[in-house]
């Protein structure tokens, strides 16, 4: 890619957010276009389930580590905005997100308090991370588009990969992209890639 092209690309990406917003607007205004949009189709499909339970295994890859760290436990989602994540191994930890409030119960690490509550509206990076999972499961396209540019490979009928790229510079500094893989109305894996080269992989298996 020569320098001219690169500059053109930079200008384009600056306007990308607006382009995405315009596309979104077109979908609202034109119901015909709506039905044919695969992203909307997938999100509608995902949002149709009001409750999900899954067991999870989370692997943390990092340049600081020789081998990934592993944690496992249970996940519970209830539409529209409640997520519970209970880590059982290696240590018990309980995390619940409901509306704007995140509550976390941890075994004390470095003397920090064991129960803490955080307002998501005050934590832009955290709320973006949480939105990736919660809004995807809820089929909430508006929230996803508030933080990310969305691209989809595959479609709702078969295997798919939804890639979320942060729009906001503050988010861009922390997160490179988030990839969600799934099949049909099931999300099977959430992968968060950080700018520093860390990678977190959350694999889920539905539990009846």
């Amino acid at each position: 890619m020569n320098a001219h092209l690169a500059r053109l690309f930079a200008v384009f990406s600056r306007h990308r957010a607006r382009t995405v917003a315009l596309v979104a607007l077109a979908h609202v205004v034109l119901p015909g276009a709506h039905a044919q949009d695969p992203v909307q189709q997938l999100l509608d499909h995902l949002g149709a389930r009001a409750e999900r339970r899954a067991s999870f295994v989370e692997r943390q890859y990092s340049p600081l580590l020789n081998a990934p760290l592993e944690a496992s436990g249970r996940l519970h989602f209830r539409a529209p905005d409640e997520v519970e994540k209970e880590t059982l191994r290696p240590r018990h930890e309980w995390l619940r997100i409901r509306g704007d409030v995140l509550t976390i119960d941890t075994p004390p690490v470095r003397g920090a308090a064991s129960t803490r509550s955080v307002r998501l509206s005050e934590q832009p990076v955290l709320s973006a991370l949480i939105a990736s999972l919660r809004a995807t499961l809820a089929g909430d396209r508006a929230t996803l588009q508030h933080y990310y540019e969305i691209t989809l490979r595959g479609d709702a009928a078969t295997r798919w990969t939804l890639t979320l790229t942060p729009i906001d510079p503050v988010l861009q500094a922390a997160i490179d992209r988030i990839e969600m893989r799934g099949r049909g109305d099931q999300v099977e894996q959430v992968m968060i890639l950080s700018r520093a080269g860390d990678r977190s992989e959350l694999s889920m298996t539905p539990v009846p």
Binding site: Q60, E70, R110, V125, L129, A174, S194
Partner: protein, 810 residues
């Protein structure tokens, strides 16, 4: 110059028709008159010159109680001149939840514009960029600031323990947040630094900016370069904020909505010492001008209506002008400056000085000596003076100035009335005859008034019982009640301050030392005691400047605990052997430690340009010959445990800014109460001496007592607990009312003269009532309270004087 024109005008027709045989005595009298006017002009010019070259100040601290202790005095001057006084709190309030995002956007644009403006030293809106600046400074200095930095933490065992904790943390939900800095800060020193501030109230953040607790008002904090009480430059800063706000609003609403509903949905609020100084200055100046003009016009209209004599009106200006000039000159000589509030209070002098002209004109009889009139006039002056002297005796700086101003004013007005008016007014038509028809209703009313004697006494007894049995406290000694700031301003300030998590500065510990380094050592030494108090719940938290700027010894000790780069690298290799961590990945950690080893101990300037720097500038004060470190306390449950914990430490003082000031106001009030009682006794004694008859004195005293009791009860029932200002105003009521009671109480056998007395008292009461009622319209609390009280008291005094004090012979 009107009085002088009047003088020549008045004199000429009088002198011309005099018959020749009396020429020598006429000439003597003429010379005497001319001489008195000459002296008057000279004195007036002199007073005018003094007053004119004296600055008018609007610094509201003169009307706040002075500091209670020497330590507070020091603190007050530092705070007044310091950074705290330069703070402007800006709130952009959204009317509805839909407008919150717009408010945030406007606040952000406003902050950006102000940050680029040279009038402001610092602007903060809680945006990520601003917070990141603070975080970066704390992060870079973490090995100097963290209390967890000890030599043991950097041994092989210490490192191994720290990395085991890190591994646990990376398996928790906090992993993404910890990973971001783990390579540079594996031991979590930054978390330890932040934990020290964890109990500090955190402002709410929405849409990337600070918001008030209710989530409706976006907050911006600005610090002006100008000092808080530099009125002109503060006003310029406020204009800049208004302009920047208008521009930000226009930019944010462009294309959103063509109509004005969106712009009206937002409101700009400003608070802070400088803002209030400008606002109260404007209010006082507006009051002083508008109300004085209105008072002059209304009183002139009253006199014109009553006496139908423009020439009398011109003469009545003489005592008014004399009084105002003398009062201003006296205040200027005594205090070196005249306060704008005193100028506002000056309008009451119009109402009082005009009384003397009315007495002279209306009660002047054919008897050239007017002995009775002059004696009554002097008693009136003395009783009014007693009120003002008691006002000065309160010791409250603002009241002393008002008292002195009024005292000098009425004495000068009375002298002018006594020595200038009779000669000048001699040729005016005898008004007492012409009045009779126009004031027939007044005469009938006064004839009937004694019927109301028993109901009035009963009402007074009831009022007394109400005062005695009032459940709520009779007195309000809170600073807010008498502060020259409007109450709403204080509430707004509290709301914005609370929203930003700024300390309310009620409880402070001052650590005084010969220099700043020693003061910081003292503040640091207090931390274990304060931590213990917090653990016991005696206080909710504290902010010590020593947390951000630890003493040099502590910083050196922490620095010395850090191993050299090669040593640390070697220990790290041993500690991480057999773990999941890669040694090479932690090179940034080793580099940061090495960099800290080469850092000089940091001081307050390290935080310049951040909110932390702003806080420190308030907490660390240097002055000639010493320095003070201030520790702010939050949620103090009781004074005693804190006082005990810090007792017996040299240079350490616990300050309760609210409690101490309230104690001080209470002591002012008690002094004023004693002065008032003495003043009342003096007034009654004067009356007894003047009247010379026990029954008449008792009647007059009853009239005065009833008026005061009724006024106090009405105030208590309508405005709540009384303040220091109400108290001194009640004494003024006694001073004013005693004149009416005295004149009504005089035994005047001649019905024509009696009618004249009634009319004059009525006109005086009306003029005084108008002046003080206008003062009550002032937005400055001291003027408002005194005005309302005296206006009400004048009304009651007139009624009780007419009915209770009226001589039995009438």
């Amino acid at each position: 110059m009107t009085p002088i024109d009047t003088h020549t005008e008045a004199e000429a027709p009088r002198e011309l028709p005099q018959p020749a045989p009396h020429a020598p005595s006429q000439r003597r009298r003429r010379i005497k008159t001319a001489l008195s006017w000459l002296i008057w002009v000279l004195l007036l010019t002199c007073c005018g010159w003094i007053a004119n070259r004296t600055a008018v100040v609007t610094d509201i601290t003169g009307f706040l109680p002075g500091p209670a202790t020497r330590a507070q005095a020091l603190l007050a001057t530092q705070l007044r001149d310091g950074v705290a006084a330069r703070l402007v709190l800006i709130g952009v309030q959204a009317e509805s939840d839909d407008q919150v995002a717009l408010a945030a956007q406007v606040a952000q644009r406003l902050a950006g514009a102000l940050a680029a403006n040279s009038l402001f030293a610092l602007v903060a809106d809680g945006s990520d960029a601003g917070l990141a600046r603070e975080r970066d400074r704390l992060f870079a200095a973490r090995y100097l600031l963290s209390p967890a930095v000890r030599a043991e933490s950097f041994t092989v065992e210490g490192l191994r323990a720290r990395f085991a904790e890190l591994e646990q943390a990376l398996q928790s939900a906090a992993a993404p947040l910890i990973l971001a800095s783990a390579a540079r800060d594996p031991s979590g020193e930054f978390t330890a630094v932040l934990a020290q501030f964890a109990d500090r109230p955190q402002p709410l953040r929405r849409h990337g900016v600070w918001f008030s607790a209710d989530g409706r008002t976006a907050l911006v904090l600005a610090q002006t370069l100008a000092r808080g009480f530099d009125g002109e430059r503060q006003a310029a800063a406020l204009r800049a904020i208004d302009q920047a706000y208008a521009a930000a609003l226009a930019a944010s609403t462009r294309g959103v909505s063509p109509d004005a509903t969106v712009t009206r949905a937002l409101q700009l609020h400003l608070a802070g010492p400088g803002v209030f100084a400008v606002q109260s200055r404007d209010a006082i100046e507006r009051d002083a001008q508008h109300l004085s003009i209105l008072a002059a016009v209304l009183i002139a209209a009253l006199l014109l209506w009553a006496l139908r004599s423009p020439r009398f009106l011109a003469l009545a200006i003489v005592p008014v002008v004399s009084g105002v000039a003398a009062g201003l000159a006296a205040a200027a000589l005594a205090f070196g400056a005249i306060h704008a509030i005193t100028l506002g209070f000056g309008l009451t002098l119009i109402g009082e000085a005009v009384d003397y002209a009315i007495y002279v004109q209306v009660q002047r009889t054919a008897d050239a000596n007017n002995t009775r009139l002059w004696r009554a006039l002097w008693v009136a002056v003395l009783t009014s003076s007693a009120g003002f002297v008691a006002m000065m005796a309160s010791g409250f700086q603002g009241l002393v100035e008002l008292g002195l101003f009024s005292l000098a004013g009425i004495v000068a007005a009375a002298l002018a009335a006594r020595f200038l008016l009779p000669a000048a007014a001699r040729d005016l038509p005898d008004v007492s005859l012409g009045q009779r028809e126009r004031f027939a209703w007044l005469q009938r009313l006064c004839d009937l008034a004694p019927i109301a004697r028993w109901p009035l006494l009963a009402a007074a007894v009831l009022a007394l019982a109400f005062l005695a049995m009032h459940a709520a406290p009779l007195w309000n000694d809170e600073l807010g009640a008498i502060s020259p700031l409007a109450r709403s301003a204080g509430e707004l300030d509290g709301k914005l301050r609370g929203g930003l998590g700024l300390p309310d500065l009620r409880w402070l510990i001052a650590v005084d030392a010969p220099d700043l380094a020693t003061a910081l050592i003292g503040a640091e030494a207090l931390e274990p005691a304060l931590d213990a108090l917090r653990a016991r719940g005696d206080l909710a938290g504290f902010d010590s400047p020593a947390r951000l700027v630890p003493s040099e010894n502590t910083q050196r000790a922490r620095r010395d605990a850090l191993p050299a780069a090669e040593e640390l690298q070697a220990r790290l290799a041993v500690a991480l052997r057999g773990t999941n961590f890669r040694v090479a990945a932690f090179a940034p950690f080793v580099a940061d430690v090495e960099q800290t080893r080469r850092m000089a101990p940091l001081d307050a300037s390290y935080y310049a340009g951040t909110m932390l720097g702003q806080t420190l500038a308030n907490q660390l004060q240097t002055y000639a010959g010493g320095a003070t470190a201030l520790i702010t306390l939050r949620g103090v449950r009781a004074r005693a445990p804190v006082a005990r914990a810090i007792a017996a430490r040299a240079g350490v003082t616990l300050l309760d800014m609210k409690g101490d000031v309230e104690d001080l106001i209470s002591s002012y009030r008690q002094r004023a109460l004693w002065a008032a009682l003495l003043g009342a006794v003096a007034i009654v004694a004067l009356l007894a001496w003047r009247v010379g008859e026990t029954r008449a004195t008792l009647r007059i005293a009853a009239a005065l007592g009833a008026a005061v009791v009724l006024t106090a009860a009405t105030l208590l029932a309508t405005t709540g607990p009384l303040t220091l200002f109400h108290l001194v105003a009640l004494l003024l009521v006694v001073g004013v009312g005693s004149n009416y009671a005295l004149f009504f109480g005089m035994s005047v056998p001649d019905p024509k003269e009696r009618a004249a007395v009634r009319v004059s008292v009525f006109l005086c009461a009306a003029a005084t009532g108008v002046a003080f009622a206008l003062l009550a319209a002032s937005s400055t609390p001291v003027l408002h309270m005194i005005g309302g009280t005296v206006a009400l008291g004048t009304f009651y005094s007139f009624i009780t004087s007419a009915s209770l004090a009226a001589s039995a012979t009438s």
